[in-house]
């Protein structure tokens, strides 16, 4: 980037409220590192520990969803890495956490159905739905599919999502507010 463009870009990023932006391959190890950076940064700003915990919690669910479901994956030295985007920011008096990754068209169809359902629920309905899913399958090995409901429960406003269709895949975005 040309140096005069860098200042413009920095200003635009600050105006958009972005605090942390990462786009690239993600692994569990990186989740830990990025999570530590986020927690430390927020503690410098005197954000209360309950909010930091909530943000960290949503961040883990979003990042682990990318790690598990992104259709852009590579293998390096026996490690599997998944491509995605994570953004932490603040707007008005909320923090927001956005995540984005490529998914197959089938997965995006299921995501859309599930998210529309979740968006229409209030706190109590989300709690019941979460409990119902938690008890549904006796095996825990598939991870229960409750991550999205968990994100919605911890969000202070209904979650937002968008799906941009591409030729072979869909790009899926999710935004949660804390």
């Amino acid at each position: 980037m040309h140096i005069d463009k860098l200042y413009e870009c920095t200003k635009k990023i600050q105006e958009s409220g972005v605090i942390f932006y990462y786009s690239g391959y993600l692994s569990q190890k990186m989740l830990k590192s990025i999570g530590d950076v986020i927690k430390e940064k927020l503690s410098y700003e005197d954000i209360n520990s309950s909010t930091i915990k909530r943000i960290f919690s949503v961040f883990v669910e979003q990042t682990q969803n990318i790690i598990k479901y992104s259709s852009e994956r590579i293998y390096i030295d026996n490690s599997e890495l998944s491509q995605g985007v994570i953004i932490l920011g603040s707007e008005n008096s909320n923090f927001f956490l956005e995540c984005g990754n490529l998914v197959s068209k089938d997965v995006s169809k299921n995501l859309k159905t599930e998210l529309i359902k979740i968006q229409g629920m209030d706190k109590d309905e989300l709690k019941s739905y979460y409990k119902e899913k938690l008890k549904s399958d006796s095996s825990y090995t598939k991870g229960a599919g409750i991550g999205l409901i968990d994100i919605a429960r911890k969000s202070t406003k209904p979650i937002e999502f968008d799906i941009k269709e591409q030729s072979q895949n869909s790009f899926f975005f999710l935004k949660a507010f804390i």
Binding site: Q28, S50, L134, Y140, G143, G147
Partner: protein, 128 residues
């Protein structure tokens, strides 16, 4: 039966199951990439322990400061296993610890307590 002791890691909690004293401890954070990789062996061990256990009082201390949604499912299965053992005359006491300002952990504790009425479920506040 040999006690199960697993040290905490960045993503998994300390497991200290003292089978001789019937005291089970889970402490730390839980957000591994694969819950089955970690908890598979934990449940294997618990199943052996409970298969023989009769008319005993089991004390369970849960001191988790954070756990992800997959781990919530593990906890659900864990409490179900504990509840099933009551059929053999066992009684189970669970101490669910939470930090004062942690409304998320408190709510989880209250929900689990509600879902498992046969277990004695104590919500224990830790002053920060």
């Amino acid at each position: 039966m040999k006690n199960l002791i697993i040290e905490a890691t960045d993503f998994t909690p300390e497991i200290n199951f003292d089978y001789e004293k019937n005291k089970l401890l889970i402490k730390g954070e839980s957000y591994p990439e694969s819950v089955s990789n970690f908890y598979g062996k934990v449940f294997e061990s618990l199943k052996v322990y409970f298969s023989d256990l009769k008319n005993s009082l089991v004390n369970v201390d849960i001191k988790l400061i954070y756990f992800n949604s997959s781990s919530a499912k593990v906890l659900m299965n864990f409490f179900t296993l504990l509840e099933d053992s009551i059929q053999n005359g066992n009684s189970i006491v669970i101490n669910w610890y939470y930090e004062s300002e942690d409304d998320i952990l408190l709510e989880f504790g209250e929900d689990f307590k509600e879902d498992f009425p046969k277990l004695t479920f104590n919500l224990v506040e830790i002053e920060e």
